[in-house]
Symmetry: C2
Subunit: 673 residues, 2 copies
């Protein structure tokens, strides 16, 4: 392709974009890996966006009212790294660009929110960014409704590729955004017609324009290399009262020998071709060289928002002290002072009243205490509101005519919900939680993993947590899902035994700053096992002695959730036979593993035989507590599931699969010999 | 709603549909759980479909050329159970209907393919059925191209609900079907505007007509209670050269007090309301009563296809013996006789040549042997063909102008690919395998679980299986995914150490009849560790002694995949210090667990210290082999990952995270004291 026409039409624009292109080529060549084509193809769009539209101050990348920029096509990470370096970001120095994808560098293969402040969200798994962005835009609507337009008024921009749009999660995101008329969400689609396997037509002929329109979006089509068209389209998108999609027709790896090919998607490292491309761009041939005037122009762009920010700070100072405090507290992910006492009061009440309720109901009781104290919480469910017990009375429903609503009807979109919740958390100032059936953790899984990786304390409310689901059968009965969640680093998996533990778990979840929580809750009613009020949060220890042996301690029963009361039953039977039995409740294995060895030994002393009880597979972390930590193979057994469930009333299923007090007693006695 | 007009317009149709409605109400009431609204709402559509269109012989539910009927909205299971009972299915007796959702009944809460022959696929997790159906329809196209229209010529019908269409997977399915112009796929959308949380508008305003059209579908809108309109629409859909979607406007729980409400979605058990609904239907008031003439009409429908089937059998007999044998062998999931010898020959060659290749390449080498011998294999990738090494030379690409092609470019749709592959397997006569990065197991997870539950031997080819991915960083580096796959019942998780093990794993995978396989493969090159040719398939044992201790056996190193060669290095170092070290390769924990205790003890005798090595979390099943099975806590250690990875060259990452021969040696020596 002859770039002359493009270069001469608007040289100043061209040179700025060329700097992105050249840096991308150099960084990928130095790393000998990466993705050159997308940053090169989208350099014009990004240049116009950053130069003319994005509200941003490179010196204050976390300024609350900045526009958000999300690179959903995260493999094109050199686009954002180039932009940040050119604008003078303090983290993304030239040295970082030179060390692209190297050990310890901030400039990782895919942009990581926990490495660079200006990176709003970790992207790479395709489609996540566009779905995160829906949460960002919803958070903005909610906060604007609450604090007013003077304090909250920003756009969310997304660059998405064909991969993002092919992934199913994008349809969930498009559907939510269209339904909620998220007018400040603007998606720039890198319409380059290339995927890794070849042209998009190999696998898809969807008319994306029609698809977005079908879900109520404002749609435009432009030449993604025409700066004026880009500018005009973004201007129009900002005015639209709907979410906007701008289809930017681009050439992947523009001006390189690999232009318009799937090869252009990857690492373009050939030295001759690199040189030829740089010549076509009119860029300096030296590696990582940027003409001083171009760098200066970019730096001016980087601080273009400084005045806006100063003005915003003045407006923020005009808010009431209370609102300022609330705003700052929520952005700092701090809990309100009253929370701790309120949770204690609930625990005391429950220990006295000893209700027999499902832990999904327990969770609702905790939320009824938390939500009024924490206006930053946002509840929701993937179309199981009545089953997940996620909606407390005071929340109001988030809708086009009620942006103050704090409850979201996500629809049957577990994945989109999870990703959007991550987006809300990352936006700042919000603590979202959302529910589905625990089995459908499967659908939300890619975003649950990213919550853990990104250190976002999103809360996943997962009810119907075992064969206790009953008649709905094995498609709806989790058996391996505790194992899945527990195997994931940086994730709290709470399986409370009753309302007291549920309240304690929620307290931990809504005060966590870097760790997502999974609340694993029953459908079926359970007795209160914490009948003695304790001020301290025992769930924080992960596991604790719920009930000490009466006689000589011969058995330790370790259980979670619905199986704790079963352990108590088994203990009663064992004690009746003179077998001293301790019951350990273990609501959170991760937190127990974090305790010091002395505490762990106190809870699980060597000597007694151990029986673990959980209506799930043993692979869910049990062997460490049964065999390890000074347990022994010949002195440990497990009562749980080793296959998929079945469709029948819940009580019958517990019998069928041998998860009963009787089976527990029998195993303990067998171990005692 | 006054049903008089509907009843009188076509009483014969009405009464047949009314029988479905009445049976649904009775069965749900008896079970006191279930979903009444959908079968009631879609009874008219189903009646017309079964009476006038579906090619089906109730006496031979597995007849290969039957039309496939898939209830994607699986919660409406009473629709299919009613139909089967009414038509005289031998499994779904009146007794089964009366025992809906009870222990041991075939009539489970959601339809399960492994319980009832006429149930094509297990549904319930929403969106799966419509995506399975894409695989069914592709399988039909492939087989029609191969065997001719006289032997293969059937439609795939799907009933899908709003939930199916909101789930992201549906867009992946719609995109694939549209691209491939699957003209024999017909989706009947139960457009009732109701979800569990309320009206669809609460969460979605997508114009489904436009969305399907955007992906190239033939679309019609009809009154789903008008039998003539239904008939005409299905007739038109069958003629269309594109996949068809018929939007059937229906009333959920038609004629019941809960009609058109979200309450109508669930279990309608109120006796008075049930009676009133039956009266409105003109159905007998006695529970489970069906008028004799109506039952007779349904039974006639059930055997309507008998003549077609007889004619088909005659045509099938005209096929060449070779084609008949191939057809029957593939449907029986039998391997060709030559396979075993060919795998052995490859193993021998590899043991001699000892190539140093990535196991993704090893996998391709095995496929290059298997694919020519097994024309029923269908390869593919979710847009990572070159990285997953799934395309062998002879396959040809499946496309609108090449239905004989055996390779599918699935696009960036891991979930849709996995579900469609399950559909192909369930269709019969096919053995699909498809690839993505192991980390994106997350996206495919709901369908991978269903493969295990449904006992479909689909093969998931998962490359780039650890921090060995290198620079792409933690979003692309699996650490918990082995744990996830291994925690799932009925799943073989293979992590071969070299090409010999890869060939053995593939042999097991493509001869499995009831168990899906996950091939976990490296990006990076590995040496051949199986340098001595063995005729027997050692991987079939799950784990085996790869290298015996030279001196007194003090250490057992247990490793999988890329860490087996690392274990061999560590062994060499230990032996050099006079420490006798056995290396156990463990390519498949599930198969090892299935061996008898004597074999397991032989491989892992008590006494020596044990070090497990795997570039993944210890929670992936390791404690059983390290601490259990007569191991001991003080004598076992693990070399692996305990956090997410990072972006850097792979070699540096193995160093950084301490997954090295040196670290292994140090741990072993520490254990020896």
């Amino acid at each position: 392709m002859d770039l002359t026409a493009l270069r001469t039409a608007n040289p100043e624009h061209w040179n700025k974009a060329a700097a992105i292109r050249a840096l991308t080529l150099d960084a990928v060549a130095a790393a000998n890996s990466g993705h050159s084509g997308m940053p090169i193809g989208m350099a014009d769009v990004a240049t116009v966006l950053f130069e003319k539209h994005l509200k941003f101050d490179v010196k204050a990348p976390k300024w609350a009212d900045r526009d958000r920029f999300i690179l959903s096509a995260g493999h094109g990470s050199m686009l954002i790294y180039s932009l940040l370096y050119l604008m003078g970001d303090e983290q993304v120095t030239l040295d970082q660009i030179k060390n692209f994808r190297q050990m310890g560098a901030l400039t990782a293969g895919h942009p990581e929110n926990f490495l660079i402040d200006a990176v709003e969200t970790t992207t790479g798994p395709l489609g996540q960014g566009i779905a995160n962005a829906v949460g960002f835009a919803m958070a903005e609507e909610m906060q604007r409704a609450h604090y007013g337009k003077k304090v909250v008024d920003h756009n969310t921009y997304v660059i998405a590729g064909d991969g993002c749009l092919m992934e199913g999660i994008s349809q969930e995101a498009i559907g939510i955004a269209g339904r909620q008329k998220l007018g400040k969400l603007i998606v720039l689609w890198d319409n380059n017609n290339i995927t890794i396997d070849g042209s998009v037509e190999l696998s898809d002929r969807t008319n994306q324009i029609q698809r977005f329109k079908a879900s109520g979006w404002h749609v435009q089509e432009i030449d993604g290399h025409d700066p004026e068209a880009i500018d005009a389209a973004i201007t129009a998108a900002k005015k639209a009262q709907k979410p906007s999609m701008i289809a930017c027709k681009t050439h992947i790896a523009l001006g390189h020998a690999a232009q318009d090919t799937s090869k252009g998607h990857g690492a373009l490292t050939d030295a001759e071709q690199l040189k030829a491309a740089k010549e076509a761009y009119g860029a300096p041939l030296g590696a990582f060289e940027v003409p001083a005037d171009v760098k200066a122009q970019w730096e001016a762009i980087g601080t273009r928002g400084a005045a806006d920010r100063a003005a915003w700070e003045a407006r923020f100072a005009e808010l009431s002290k209370q609102k300022q405090e609330r705003f700052n507290r929520a952005y700092a992910l701090e809990a309100p002072k009253k929370l701790s006492a309120a949770i204690k009061a609930l625990k005391k009440q429950i220990s006295e009243e000893q209700p027999k309720v499902a832990t999904r109901k327990s969770s609702e009781m905790a939320l009824a205490v938390i939500n009024p104290l924490m206006p930053e919480t946002v509840g929701g469910s993937a179309d199981l509101t009545g089953s997940n017990n996620t909606k407390t009375g005071d929340l109001g429903v988030f809708d086009t005519d009620n942006r103050k609503g704090r409850y979201v009807y996500w629809g049957i979109r577990e994945h989109g919900m999870a990703a959007a919740m991550n987006g809300m958390t990352l936006h700042g100032g919000m603590r979202p939680y959302g529910g589905t059936f625990f089995c459908f953790t499967d659908y939300a899984r890619p975003s649950m993993r990213l919550a853990a990786l990104m250190k976002t304390p999103t809360v996943f409310v997962m009810t119907h947590d075992s064969i206790g689901v009953g008649e709905d059968g094995p498609t709806h009965q989790p058996v391996e899902h505790l194992a899945i969640c527990r195997a994931t680093p940086n994730t709290y998996v709470f399986r409370p035994a009753d309302t007291v533990e549920a309240a304690e778990a929620w307290e931990i979840a809504v005060t966590a700053k870097e760790t997502p929580s999974v609340m694993v809750l029953t459908r079926q009613n359970l007795p209160t096992v914490r009948t003695e009020h304790k001020l301290s949060n025992l769930t924080e220890k992960g596991a604790y002695v719920l009930s000490e042996a009466e006689g000589k301690r011969q058995v330790i029963l370790i259980a979670t959730g619905s199986e704790v009361s079963l352990a108590m039953e088994a203990k009663a039977k064992l004690e009746a036979e003179g077998i001293g039995t301790r019951v350990v409740s273990m609501p959170c294995m991760e937190l127990f593993a974090q305790q010091d060895e002395a505490y762990r030994r106190k809870v699980l002393p060597a000597g007694p035989v151990r029986v673990g009880i959980e209506a799930a597979v043993r692979a869910g972390g049990w062997d460490r507590w049964l065999l390890g930590e000074r347990g022994q193979e010949k002195k440990a057994a497990f009562v749980g599931m080793d296959r998929f469930g079945a469709s029948a009333p819940a009580d019958e299923l517990f019998e069928k699969f041998g998860i009963t007090a009787e089976a527990t007693v029998a195993k303990a006695k067998e171990l005692l010999g």
